[in-house]
Symmetry: C2
Subunit: 845 residues, 2 copies
Amino acid sequence: MATENGVTPSTTTAPGWARRPDTALEQTVLERIDRWWRAANYLSVGQIYLLANPLLTTPLDRDDVKPRLLGHWGTTPGLNFLYAHMNRVISERDVDAIYITGPGHGGPGLVANSYLEGTYTETYSDVTQDAEGMRRLFRQFSFPGGIPSHVAPETPGSIHEGGELGYALSHAYGAAFDNPDLLVLAVVGDGEAETGPLATSWHSNKFVNPATDGVVLPVLHLNGYKIANPTVLARIGQDELHDLMRGYGHTPYEFVAGFDDEDRSSIHRRYAALLDEVLDEIVAIKERAAAGDTSRPMWPMIIFRTPKGWTCPEIIDGKKAEDSWRAHQVPLANARDTPEHLQVLADWLGSYRAEELFDADGRLDADVASLAPRGERRMSASPHANGGLLLRDLRLPDFREFAVDVPAPGASIAESTKVLGQWLTEVIRRNPDSFRIFGPDETASNRLQAVFAETDKVWNADVVPGADTDEHLSPEGRVVEMLSEHQCQGWLEGYLLTGRHGLFNCYEAFIHIVDSMLNQHAKWLKVTREIPWRRPIGSLNYLLSSHVWRQDHNGFSHQDPGFIDHVVNKKPEVVRVYLPADANTLLSTYDHCLRSRDYVNVVVAGKQPAPQFLTMDEAVAHCTRGLGIWEWAGTESDGEAPDVVLACAGDVPTVETLAAADLLRQHVPDLKVRVVNVVDLMRLMDSTEHPHGLTDSDFDGIFTTDRPVIFAYHGYPWLIHRLTYRRTNHGNLHVRGYKEEGTTTTPFDMVMLNDLDRYKLVIDTIDRVPGLAARYAGLRQRMEDKRIEARQYTRLHGEDLPEVADWVWPDDGDRAGSADAGGAPTTSRRRGAASATASTGGDNE
Amino acid sequence: MATENGVTPSTTTAPGWARRPDTALEQTVLERIDRWWRAANYLSVGQIYLLANPLLTTPLDRDDVKPRLLGHWGTTPGLNFLYAHMNRVISERDVDAIYITGPGHGGPGLVANSYLEGTYTETYSDVTQDAEGMRRLFRQFSFPGGIPSHVAPETPGSIHEGGELGYALSHAYGAAFDNPDLLVLAVVGDGEAETGPLATSWHSNKFVNPATDGVVLPVLHLNGYKIANPTVLARIGQDELHDLMRGYGHTPYEFVAGFDDEDRSSIHRRYAALLDEVLDEIVAIKERAAAGDTSRPMWPMIIFRTPKGWTCPEIIDGKKAEDSWRAHQVPLANARDTPEHLQVLADWLGSYRAEELFDADGRLDADVASLAPRGERRMSASPHANGGLLLRDLRLPDFREFAVDVPAPGASIAESTKVLGQWLTEVIRRNPDSFRIFGPDETASNRLQAVFAETDKVWNADVVPGADTDEHLSPEGRVVEMLSEHQCQGWLEGYLLTGRHGLFNCYEAFIHIVDSMLNQHAKWLKVTREIPWRRPIGSLNYLLSSHVWRQDHNGFSHQDPGFIDHVVNKKPEVVRVYLPADANTLLSTYDHCLRSRDYVNVVVAGKQPAPQFLTMDEAVAHCTRGLGIWEWAGTESDGEAPDVVLACAGDVPTVETLAAADLLRQHVPDLKVRVVNVVDLMRLMDSTEHPHGLTDSDFDGIFTTDRPVIFAYHGYPWLIHRLTYRRTNHGNLHVRGYKEEGTTTTPFDMVMLNDLDRYKLVIDTIDRVPGLAARYAGLRQRMEDKRIEARQYTRLHGEDLPEVADWVWPDDGDRAGSADAGGAPTTSRRRGAASATASTGGDNE
Ligand SMILES: Cc1ncc(C[n+]2csc(CCOP(=O)(O)OP(=O)(O)O)c2C)c(N)n1
Ligand SMILES: Cc1ncc(C[n+]2csc(CCOP(=O)(O)OP(=O)(O)O)c2C)c(N)n1
Ligand SMILES: [Mg+2]
Ligand SMILES: [Mg+2]
């Protein structure tokens, strides 16, 4: 039998991807599904409303009802319906599936299903499958000391809280990557579908490989309403909606129910048939892919058009409740205030006929229970949804072998991210199915292009045969590039949450696009760390390049180092920030990041040619310490306190600080300068506030308790104050950084615009070290003049002053020489060291 | 003549919306368009490459070429083509149009067109329309001291920098709202189209009223590539792409050119015809709308499939350049390195035959120049693109008339945002076409629902006839609600940039979704303030409600007060942050915001019933000061220094602080307490750092130089340290705030989780005021016990301890009483004051 593509399907399909035996669905099964649905709905309403009397063994009393009703009903019955039907097909076909709940406010539903499956009790032993357990189940929901209202980390089977809407499909695809046998049911709220991230995430289907990735089955939960409005997708013509889905690359299957008197078994029969058709279609696609068909399939998706709040009272207080936005949250908002309202609730609960579903002791009827799949096939028990269970360490190549040769500090030039790219190439080679790089069309621009020697960019849309423009595109690529920071973040999160590893490379400024997503992920990590059964997952690693100081092509809109500020507001246990100043330090840092668990690691590193300071051994020691005194750069000697500390964090500030140290050594030879470089920013915090924080005595030792500290920092200067405000020497801390000045100009003009340049750092030193101001007024003026000269030079030549651009750290010979010369200005005499700021680097190099 | 909808079009169409006279396009016009295009392309290449010799009057020399080549060519020829053709139709039809450039990196193109139109010289008189001016034009581009590479504020005719991609359509629709005669051409990059915000923004067409809004004509610039990859939309079938556009509610018109040898005039003829067809279709829609047809039209859009880098060298160094991603930035990246490369550039420049377009003095040929529309019809000279020119003050009702009655501090209860809603209702009434409220489906949830007495939510998708669920939906609504924070922000920005007013109401946590958009807008404002010809525009006003402390329904994912931290990194001149503690303060604050210009105003205010403290007169004085001592709440007296300062900012922290002050007054009656409330957070900054900042002497007076300050703050506590680290008394500042602890629980449990509660504030006072610790160890323990009791109570009852929830500020009688009682605990005796924390408030109330 040949398919329409002329490909003969292999007879051995992937496990789990089998067609359903061609037997009619028995009525008993449909009834079982309906009873499961009723049970889940009952348990959902119970969670929202009841404190006690879970089986209504006595007439519902005012005191049985919670005093504060907190939760969301509207989306829940639809979620429960979809869950019940999934259970049938999972058992019948032995599918490995997880369930992603876009409208995560449907928490009661997912908790209810997990309880029906037994997983809830296995996870939380006091919530037993009996009347007392049910009482606890109800009471704890959205209750102080209990569980959250959403599909939170506490919910078995969840990798997606769905509090902030928009990421259901990105997470689903992230979970499906490299899990060829996994089916991810992804329910998308029709309100959620209006968000930007969700609207573009439908296109994820161009980035999956049907042969080696799992399958995402999107269900558009078209219940017509959001909080207080109809939804756009419910109020365009059916044709338009189907066009939209086809335009997104999907074949839509529409299911409509709940708006008339159709009987339940007919509804279930229709949906079961549709689901079987859809799954058979998926099996066919999988078969074709297994047989070598590499064309992009039109994946099926389901439009699930059903009433919001389905099965709740139709009318409450004279207003439409079911099938309206009024059902979004708690449709009967006051259940205790009048006997009438209490009766509405009693009738509603009664409508599910719980007595047919649970025995007098609250035990679930065996026939209903039998709908649940076995063991880990239960979606609430899937190890994919507790990814740490599946996590394997990466096989990491020894980063030391990728070291840049640094014969002396500053003696060689390298592009940090390019060097990292060489190591990452080997990481990809050794971990062909558990490591991916994500980026919004900038992986080459950020100079990681070495990886394309080993892998491609995943691409399952059309390629132009023979075109040399379609470089490194294939369905097998390990690099995932789409021009959507939201997608990069969401995919990576989904990939990590299901037990794999990866990194997200991005322009520094535009990483703010995912600020809110970072919040949600950091919150997830914070909570999971407190949940014993949640196992640690791979850290979320950022590589931010094309950073604020070197956006030569793009200017002000591309200059923003504030993501670090955003990240450090999250729980200290979860966040780490690194500013490696050269390539070897970056290598050592990233090796650490890829080994770490449950963190958000933010690494900012330049892509431009820049001087290299540390040998690999020095870099490892430096990264292990997190910061350190660069003795070779300072002029202090053992036994004496320094006169000034020049501190720096970030590659560009480090160069400016060293250039300032060089100037000071020439011009103020008797000044005792200490140079401190910070790679792990969290070291600045107090040890009681951050696990990486320095103790006060360590901090005081390094930064002194009474000497001026001139701190050249990569980002907004206030952050350094915020991290150090409790330190003894804080009053002497003077921070230079990005103060929101910028445009398209030269690299040195950029640092001058923000007073972070070497000349300004020398001036700061003169101004702050007691006694220098009067004695070095001449030098101070020469430094001001240098700034003017440097600026003028850019205006005339469009380039930086050669003595600035070509500055290199003097070698020891120079050092001795310039010291001997008693402070007379010397230009650096090192040969061979290339100019660090000459290259500007195209975006697409 | 009846249209297909059976509506007879009115004979008087809106000005500008006229069909083209039915005459064939003359060949000379097509040639003029081509020559304009060539001129614009020549000027674009010149800007990217040339320092001198703009007319190539001598053979191109190495030194004529810029040493650093910074800019983006790839998108530019397409932008130029579209511009040239727009000019014809603008003149012929007298259309009022602006041009929004999604791929804002096409800066050279928009600058070139503005120069050809004469606007550039009118704006920057030294860039004359002659050889010397052209030299300056070229040299300044992306050059130090010159202009940015993007369509920046410096570019005449721009309201959209396009540095961060994704907002072209949102801005375009924002501009079109309430501008019935405006045509907004919105070019969308095909890479840009992959972003989330752009992907959902196509649906904007459901939120415009064809009768009273302008028209957005989207052009999908399908040049096939982004930085280093093909684009998704260029690599799906044409059918799929058309389905997608139809699904978005558009009729696609596809134009393909540049891939074969078709001659220029044929290309121009085809595009001109297509553009006329599209515009006639728009006119027809406008006519139908004018005649009363309220159905949603399928608006036309253009798919513009042309080569990236069109007209640049086909092959450079053996690799495809034109029609490839390699043309994205500077296709010939090294023009000075070899004579061969220099020749490539010379040939490329020569291909435009500039000598036919400019005379020997560099003056534009009159025939070419005649393509430009007249005066303000030139898109580069449109006042809409310098919205301040059109800005009219809002007619604001007197907010004092909406005051809440506050007979004594704390004596009444109100929902702050609900009160604001009443005033906003009147604002809408008085400004029916220049003020809008935007929100992601939360306007009612944030309790602004009073406005629906006056207006509707704009909605041009289907309504269900007679359904009581379709409340307040109509094409005329002044409230714009779509579940996309990106759209809300983008629309509002577009609306403001074209000279109108508005506000964005949002859940506090989810405003982070637009962090990056805020960055871009704040940068825009910062730069425009330095550009004399840019006139001030209405401020971007946020109303953040459903804030971190009262997300009772939603829990941890909805709890994040960090937007303030994000905003204060922007330029101080541009940002303002307000935390009004009650309704009258909120009214006074918002009145100020709606009068202000060129700011970003962030206002955080609660929606829950809460005690009211200030009469309107007091509120006005308080807001004018920005902060103040609440003498009635403290126990200090004139002439004596306080023992402790209890400071607070935000409504919930204010209540906790007052409750703590109440406890202290009862239990430590001889303690001299000062209570300070901060409404304008920027007052805390140094006067040299922020225009609102307090001088040191003012600050020292209020916060003292040596007494402990216990600061209860709405957000992350570190921010207060960051704002005040230079103040004398900083070492004594102790800040409580949100430290990223939360879940679904009671309001008081939330503040306890974060150590911001009244009992903790009392403990902090005991711990920090010298001498109290030993004397009040018993009270301290009772406070600890209270916390335990309060927590236990929530676990048992699901509600807050009545003495907490029902606490009200004691009136003077109580005050005297409790003081007389010598510190014995008394419960407050005020009657009538309702409980402030009882209501939890559904999202959809
Ligand atoms: C990004 C974001 N904005 C706003 C909200 C507030 N919110 C919570 S639920 C909801 C409506 C969701 O509607 P829909 O996706 O249709 O879900 P359902 O109808 O199934 O409840 C909104 C706007 C949110 N959770 N996330
Ligand atoms: C949100 C965002 N992410 C990344 C970038 C970096 N970037 C600049 S241009 C570009 C490609 C744009 O492609 P397209 O929209 O097709 O424009 P065109 O081909 O017309 O140049 C990218 C990814 C950006 N500007 N904005
Ligand atoms: Mg919905
Ligand atoms: Mg493109």
